[in-house]
Each structure stands twice: as C-alpha cells, then as structure tokens.
Symmetry: C2
Subunit: 131 residues, 2 copies
DNA sequence: TCGAACCCTCACATTGATGTGAAGGTCAAG
DNA sequence: CTTGACCTTCACATCAATGTGAGGGTTCGA
C-alpha cells in the first residue's frame, strides 16, 4: 500500500510516517515511480511505534528495541552486542519505573475522581508518589 | 532551603527548578534578597513532577493534576470544574493506555532478554558481522 | 577587603516530535 | 489534454524540555 492508505489505516499523519522512516524505524520499499510501498505488516509495526512513542521512548531507543519485538513466533535476534543488551536492560528498568510511577499517579487520580463525584464515602485520601 | 540544596537533594538541575516554577508547577517563596526559598515538602513534590514528566506527561497536564495529589491527608479539592474533571478522565484514560503499552513492550523485552542470555541457543539467525 | 560560592534574570541554542507549505512528478478519469 | 488526487523532496516553523552562558548581585570566611 502507499503512504496515504497506511496513514488512514493507522491514523498517523503522512509526515510522521516519513519521519519514522528517516529515523530508521521503518523501511518501506519503493515503486518504480518513487512512491513508498508499505507492507501489510507495517500497519501493526507503525502502531507499535506510536505506542512506544506515546509511552515516552525516544526514536533512537525504539529503533533498538523494535527488532526484538517482531512477532509472536518470529523472533530472530539481530546479533545482540553486549552493548545493546546493556541498553535493553537499562531501558527495561526505566520502563518499569515509568510504569510504576504512571500507575501510582493514575490510581491517585482515579481515587480523586471517585471521591469528587460523590461516588465514594466522605473525605478520601489519595496518596501518591514520586520518581 | 535555597535552590542549590533542593537541586542537590532531588538531582534536578537548578535550571529546571526555575523552569518548573515558570510553568506554574511549583511556587517557592522569596527571601528579602530575592533568593528563592523552598519548603521542605517541595522535595517530594519536585520528584513527583519528574516522575510524571518522565512518564511522558506535559507540564500543562501535570499542572492540572498536581493539586489532586497534594499530600498524605492534606488533600484539598480545588473547585473541580466539570471541564477539569473531563480533562482528568481523559488523562486517566491516556495513562492507562500508556501503561498497558509500556507493560506489553517491557514484557516483550524482558522475554527477549531472558531468551538471549543463558537459555538454549537454538532459534534464530545468529549472524556474526563486525564493524 | 577580597574571592569563592552562592543567587538572580535574560536570552539565545538545541533536540525531538511535529505542523505546514512550496515546487513539482504521476496517474486515472472526464 | 486537463484536472484532481495522489505522491515526491526540501525546508522552514513550532513546542516542550533542556543546556549554557553572560552580566550582575549577595554572603561568608580567610
């Protein structure tokens, strides 16, 4: 498919699809006329990228971890250098911390909302967190 | 305490502490001489801000949700306009999706790492290229 | 009294993720 | 053949989060 269709199917602006390519996150084929040609599988891939981006990971990290997330059974390791493994470990850790922080704060907000809309009992206490 | 001490205790550069203030996330007092004077509680507060920032929330959102996360017991609801509640609901939703996405990808990475190390070297293509 | 170590404001630079528009090629349908 | 809807590249604009440094005041100990 061409960029327009991929854009529509994923909800990602064309501009960003080109940007992700520029960042090395996806590498569509080219038709004779120079148009980008996207494989079906890139629909999922692009959405995964968006998810990670939304989750706060920078493209350069995403680029590194994407190869490990290929498919359910299709895991092929791209020659993991120890350096890369370290990066992954590190990022794994960051992600966990990020998740914890987000979860704690989300829970606090949820609690707050619950209290505010008379849902719960009287005065509540939504304790939360930090890094 | 002054900005230097807060910076040291939180690990946040002075520059950012001033930036957070500029963004309305914190509002330290001022001494006679114009120096910023930070309350003890701001140590936690600042770390909470960092956590949220790291988690991908922009300052303008953080500014909105911070009042709901004040302290242990000290929760005072600031006249929740329906508009604000909507924002919170929305952000709550985003956070949940973000968490899910992060968790999925983190698990995938964790699984990958687990396979790569120790466990049997069977699947995949192990190329040995060198740069 | 001097210097070191703080603090201030101002303001420009940078990076990452985007928006937007110009100038132009391709292609199917009227 | 022309028009409109695609596509291309290029390049400048923007926004948030930071870095960095200039120019200058304050405080404190030697």
């Amino acid at each position: 498919m061409r960029i327009g269709e991929l854009s529509e199917r994923t909800g990602i602006p064309r501009r960003l699809l080109r940007y992700y390519e520029e960042q090395g996150l996806i590498t569509p084929e080219r038709c004779e006329n120079g148009y980008r040609s996207y494989d079906e599988r890139l629909v999922d891939r692009v959405q995964q990228i968006r998810g990670l981006l939304d989750a706060g990971l920078p493209t350069r990290i995403i680029k590194q971890i994407l190869p490990c997330l290929d498919g359910p059974g299709t895991i092929h390791f791209p020659d993991p250098t120890p350096e890369m493994l370290t990066t992954l470990e590190l990022e794994l850790d960051r992600m966990t911390r990020r998740i914890d922080c987000l979860a704690r704060n989300r829970d606090a907000i949820a609690a707050y909302l619950e209290v505010v809309r008379g849902d719960g009992p009287s005065v509540g206490d939504a304790r939360s967190v930090e890094a």
